[in-house]
């Protein structure tokens, strides 16, 4: 649920963040830790060991009832009917014109019970849209965003740190699986999902258990170099992993096809869903622009909003960019016309008074070793 006032919400871990010396920022209506020790150090810790994240700002929406699956299938672009119990998939909820309202992870907790995780800044709008789209069906929407906390542990050591703390059999929990159980004695949902490009888990608990889970994960991981990680590292990690961020790569004027995420639009399934007609047309017409990865071949860092040029023509815009801690190169994502989206194409990015050459590269920038 989105806050009704201008005062940002605080997560149950607020005191922990302040005690750790975090720099706090407002994000999606919540006060969140941007960084503790430093973004680079946290980023590298997640790639090499593991990091623990407070994701309590995310929206948690439960849908339950005999029509939960079919109702959601009308509301989103994927097919939750085909989702197996204990599994999740990446999805989108679109406007009638095909623009993206939010990107989601949909978890099937039981035959007639789903959990939808939405972005903090959109969870109110997602909640409203779901309520409207489920009207007249045997499906009850329960927006538990304010009462629910989420703590993630991400990185190669995540499973080893979490395993002794939980009765969930992690070796049987595959990527995009979810199971109910306990973590540090507290009732929890444990999902093998994340936003870093590493193996890892997202632990969803009642807000009253958040401190217990947070402390347990950090205590268990401390001797092996597991650290708390903030939104700054979360952003550089997801960017290296080529994962889109709503508000940067995704928005109401973007279709899933432009973002290279046409796979989440299940046009082949029967039945209507909101945005279907527009998305069928968008699919048939082909996108006017495509999301690409860029690596800068000159000095500079491309940032959100910088313009992309080809032969002195403005052809697109950078959606996200940073200095990649893992690659040591300046990386970015940008929208360009399909004719310039082929890897190896050289474009340039306007950085202050310079046009800096950049090469189109395949996404993601970083892929973990299996």
């Amino acid at each position: 649920m989105a806050p009704d006032t201008d005062t940002p919400l605080t997560t149950p871990l607020e005191d922990r963040h302040r005690a750790l010396g975090a720099r706090m920022v407002e994000f999606g209506g919540w006060m969140m830790p941007l960084q503790y020790g430093g973004i680079l150090e946290e980023h590298r810790a997640v790639r090499a060991r593991a990091g623990v994240f407070d994701l309590s700002h995310m929206g948690e929406l439960y849908v339950e009832g005999a029509d939960a699956a079919s109702g959601l299938a009308y509301a989103v672009t994927t097919d939750p009917v085909s989702l197996k119990v204990g599994r999740a998939h990446y999805s989108m909820i679109c406007f009638p014109d095909g623009g993206i309202l939010d990107d989601l992870i949909i978890y099937r907790l039981a035959e007639e019970r789903f959990l939808i995780v939405a972005n903090a800044g959109n969870s109110g709008a997602v909640s409203d849209a779901l309520a409207q789209r489920l009207t007249g069906r045997d499906a009850v929407l329960d927006d538990r965003s304010l009462e629910t906390a989420m703590v993630a542990i991400q990185g190669p050591l995540a499973a080893g740190v979490l395993a002794p703390l939980t009765d969930v059999a992690l070796d049987q929990l595959r990527y995009y699986g979810i199971a109910e159980g306990h973590v540090a004695g507290a009732q929890a949902l444990v999902a093998r999902t994340g936003y870093t490009g590493e193996d890892g888990f997202e632990v969803i608990v009642d807000g009253s258990s958040a401190v217990t889970i947070w402390d347990a994960l950090l205590d268990a991981g401390r001797s092996s170099g597991v650290v708390p990680a903030g939104l700054g590292a979360r952003d550089t990690l997801r960017l290296e992993a080529g994962m889109p961020l709503y508000g940067n790569e995704l928005g109401p004027r973007t279709t899933p096809y432009q973002a290279g995420l046409g796979r989440v639009v299940k046009l082949e399934r029967t039945g209507d869903f909101v945005g279907r007609a527009a998305l069928e047309k968008a699919h048939a017409d082909g996108p006017r622009e495509l999301l690409v990865g860029l690596i800068l071949r000159g000095r500079g860092i491309a940032r959100h909003g910088y313009e992309v040029f080809a032969e002195d023509r403005r052809v697109g815009v950078v959606t996200s960019g940073t200095m990649s801690p893992t690659l040591g190169d300046a990386i970015a994502m940008a929208y360009v016309p399909p004719s310039l989206a082929e890897p190896g194409t050289i474009v340039s990015v306007q950085i202050r008074d310079q046009r800096v050459p950049a090469e189109v590269v395949p996404l993601p920038f970083y892929r973990r070793q299996a």
């Binding site: 720099r23 941007l34 960084q35 430093g38 973004i39 680079l40 150090e41 700054g232 550089t236 000095r299 500079g300 860092i301 940032r303 940073t322 200095m323 801690p325 300046a330 202050r352």
Partner: protein, 126 residues
């Protein structure tokens, strides 16, 4: 604690006068506020600048920040090592993380800067 023998701008640059040349850097407060610094863009040598003129850019993972030259004069040297090691601005901002050397002719420029006590008072309220 900031070094007592330096002069400071409100934009968090420091100046050390050494044999008629002004050495310019940013303070540890500025570096700390920016976070991990990953890119530095410095002016061409030989450029003549006015006091307070933007002469470069310092970028951290999250932020882009202008560098203002706290004294007027000619840029005679820039710290070339920062191109490969921008983190020196975080680890040693008053030493090996220096940015520019500027020949300065106008003593009045220095008088318009803050002393250590005034700069500390400024950052205490920031």
């Amino acid at each position: 604690m900031v070094p007592k023998d330096l002069h400071y701008s409100k934009e968090h640059e420091w100046v050390r006068i050494e044999g008629g040349v002004a050495i310019v850097g940013i303070t540890d407060f500025a570096a700390e506020q920016l976070g991990d610094i990953v890119f530095v863009e410095l002016p061409d040598i030989g450029r003549t600048v006015a006091q307070g003129e933007p002469v470069g850019v310092i970028e951290s993972v999250k932020a882009v920040s202008d560098l203002f030259c706290p004294v007027a004069g000619d840029i005679v040297e820039v710290n070339g090592e920062l191109a490969g090691r921008p983190e020196l601005l975080n680890t040693d901002p008053f030493g090996s993380g220096w940015l520019l050397r500027v020949t300065t002719s106008d003593k009045g420029d220095i008088d318009r800067l803050l002393d250590a006590a005034a700069y500390e008072a400024l950052t205490a309220t920031a």
